[in-house]
């Protein structure tokens, strides 16, 4: 048994390697497990948040499907609701949005309009696709009954036509 004399050394070396490795595993495993648990936790949170935009994504897709990329022309709506030349309209591009949309804002000012006409204008604007949504409004009653001075800020989504 030529190898027998080496056996104690082999077993000693193996035992040392096993012990050192086990010690190293014990010391490092908890740190590594913590890292994995943290990553798993981050993944769960991110997945949960990622599903939070589904409704917005669907809305964008719906508008794309019916090719509703630009809201109705406010001048036309204003002429129909308030009368020709009754409204002064200013547009402003507010910025880019996800899914290739742009954020548009319009300020409509009218003097001496009937409140019901203003209300109809708002209703017609919001019925557009995509809708003009009311952001803010200031109504000041004029001395003449039923007439108001209105400053309306509207916003909408807009996409470049393909």
């Amino acid at each position: 048994m030529k190898h027998a004399r080496y056996k104690p050394w082999i077993s000693l070396v193996l035992a040392l390697v096993a012990c050192m490795w086990s010690l190293n595993t014990m010391l490092s495993a908890s740190k590594k497990l913590d890292t994995i648990i943290r990553k798993q936790s981050d993944l769960t949170k991110i997945r949960l948040l990622a599903t939070g935009w589904t409704a917005e994504q669907q809305w964008s897709a719906q508008l794309d499907r019916i090719q509703a990329w630009r809201a109705d022309n406010l001048e036309i709506l204003a002429e129909q609701a308030l009368g020709i030349g009754q409204a002064h309209i200013a547009y402003q591009k507010k910025g880019n949005l996800p899914y290739d949309w742009q954020h548009m804002e319009a300020t409509v000012e009218t003097k001496n309009a009937l409140f019901m006409d203003v209300y109809n204008f708002l209703r017609m604007a919001s019925s557009s696709l995509p809708p003009w949504r009311l952001q803010s409004i200031t109504l000041t009653a004029m001395p003449d009954e039923h007439q108001v001075h209105a400053k309306i800020v509207l916003e909408t989504l807009e996409k470049e036509c393909h």
Partner: protein, 464 residues
């Protein structure tokens, strides 16, 4: 069962007659060596011994064994172990270099470390092994005869009081062995070397005088000359079967003033072989045949096998541990890689350039940015937008009734001025607004001419 043997044989080795006892974990039995059975039994025993299945123990004669209790004023057993040989050397009638020494029962007491040192001459060991070899036995154990007898007697007849004086008289064909001690410990052994035949024939010979004198001395040593203490004397050995002889020995001690209680052990002839077998089996023997020079080849092989098994076990366990570590490291690495891949995929869907390890922070930043961007979509798809809110506010004012002269509605902010017929319409309108989630503050002033109530309203609401 420290040595792992299942069977042990004890041979009361004598030139004229041999008694063989077989001890297993369950039983102790005397083998019948009469009628020419001995050669067959011997061959069976030696076959078992040589194959490593059993041990064989013979006694090392008490007459050739020096036993001394030693004490050293140290606290470390390791240091004491280095000092004991020097102390024993002084006590020995032969050079310690030519001796085989054993140190039994090393224990710590208040005054230091104590041991029972045993020594024999190497020459005597060679002679015993030659005699055994001539008889066809190659023992694995050569146990100290007096210690073996003493311990067996203690095992079979445990002392009620640890300090009770006890003497064991073992009578064989060639000697009388007197062992004294207490219920707790062995103290000394004395050998009267007279053949049994001489005792029987020489009625008034000096042998009897020697017996009486030695026994009186031993009893005095045992009791410290206190005659009130009684001494238990146990009788064993082949000679103990000779009732008349034993009776004569006992009567010869009648002059001793100390009360003596005599008892013969059960099966007195085989006490030694029982002791040898039991001590070899439970590895408690004071085995002079130990160390590389003297150890039986079968025991050496057995030890080598045991060492080999231990090494194999260490190698096996180490390999298993290493494999477990490899598997665990592989599992952790794979698991981390899998989770990281999932995390990267999920985070890149929201924050495309999120660096590794910063996924959550990057996603949070991206989400804050997107939250602002998404608000336009949320407003666009909200069927109950600010238009609906304006309609609700104005409708409630009309129902109250309250006259509004000026109103400003912004996201979550409302201000209005106007007139009301009294406080009650205003309160009604306020209640309606509060139901819709507005926090309302109203300031009023009365027009002394028209008695109309002028109001200023400010309201806010939590962002939805």
């Amino acid at each position: 069962m420290k040595n792992g043997f299942q069977t042990a044989y004890g041979v009361d080795f004598s030139p004229t007659d041999m008694l063989v006892t077989k001890a297993t974990r369950a039983t102790v039995s005397l083998l019948d060596t009469t009628g020419g059975n001995l050669p067959e039994i011997r061959d069976t025993i030696m076959a078992e011994v040589n194959s490593g299945k059993a041990t064989l123990s013979v006694q090392f004669p008490a007459a050739q064994t020096t036993i001394r209790p030693l004490q050293v004023a140290l606290r470390s057993k390791e240091k004491a172990g280095k000092v004991f040989p020097s102390l024993l050397d002084i006590e020995l009638p032969f050079p310690i270099e030519s001796a085989i020494c054993l140190y039994q029962d090393i224990h710590v007491r208040e005054d230091g470390i104590h041991t029972l040192a045993l020594a024999i001459r190497q020459h005597d060991m060679e002679s015993l092994l030659s005699a055994c070899d001539a008889a066809g036995f190659q023992p694995t154990h050569c146990d100290a005869e007096s210690l073996a007898l003493w311990e067996q007697n203690r095992v079979e007849y445990p002392a009620i009081h640890e300090e009770a004086a006890r003497i064991l008289v073992d009578i064989s064909d060639s000697r009388i062995l007197i062992i004294r001690g207490t219920g707790r410990q062995f103290l000394a052994a004395h050998v009267l070397r007279t053949a049994y035949a001489d005792w029987m024939e020489l009625d008034s010979a000096p042998a009897w005088q020697t017996w009486r004198t030695r026994m009186a001395q031993i009893i005095d040593n045992q009791t410290g000359k206190e005659t009130t203490k009684s001494v238990n004397i146990w009788w064993s050995g082949r000679g103990a079967l000779q009732d008349a002889f034993v009776s004569k020995l006992q009567k010869s001690l009648s002059a001793v003033q100390t009360p003596l209680r005599h008892s013969i052990v059960k099966e007195p002839a085989t006490l030694l072989s029982r002791a040898l077998a039991r001590r070899a089996l439970d590895d408690s023997a004071a085995n002079f045949r130990s160390g590389p020079q003297w150890q039986h080849p079968a025991l050496l092989r057995q030890q080598a096998k045991a060492a080999n098994r231990t090494l194999q076990a260490i190698i096996g366990i180490s390999m298993i541990l290493i494999l477990v570590n490899i598997f665990f490291a592989f599992y952790l690495k794979n698991r981390e890689a899998y989770v990281q891949a999932q995390l990267t995929q999920a985070s890149h869907a929201i924050a495309p350039h999120a660096p590794k390890g910063m996924e959550w922070v990057s996603v949070q930043r991206a989400l804050q940015q997107r939250e602002t961007e998404m608000r336009a979509f949320q407003t666009s798809m909200d069927p109950n937008g600010e238009e609906y809110r304006l309609y609700t506010i104005l409708n409630a004012a009309q129902n109250a009734p309250v006259e509004i002269t000026d109103i400003r509605l912004m996201p979550n902010q409302l201000s209005a001025t106007g007139n009301a017929g009294g406080i009650q319409p205003l309160e009604k309108w306020k209640a309606s607004l509060q139901l819709d989630g507005w926090n309302v503050q109203i300031q009023t002033s009365e027009n002394p001419e028209t008695k109309a109530l002028h109001f200023q309203l400010k309201a806010t609401r939590e962002a939805s």
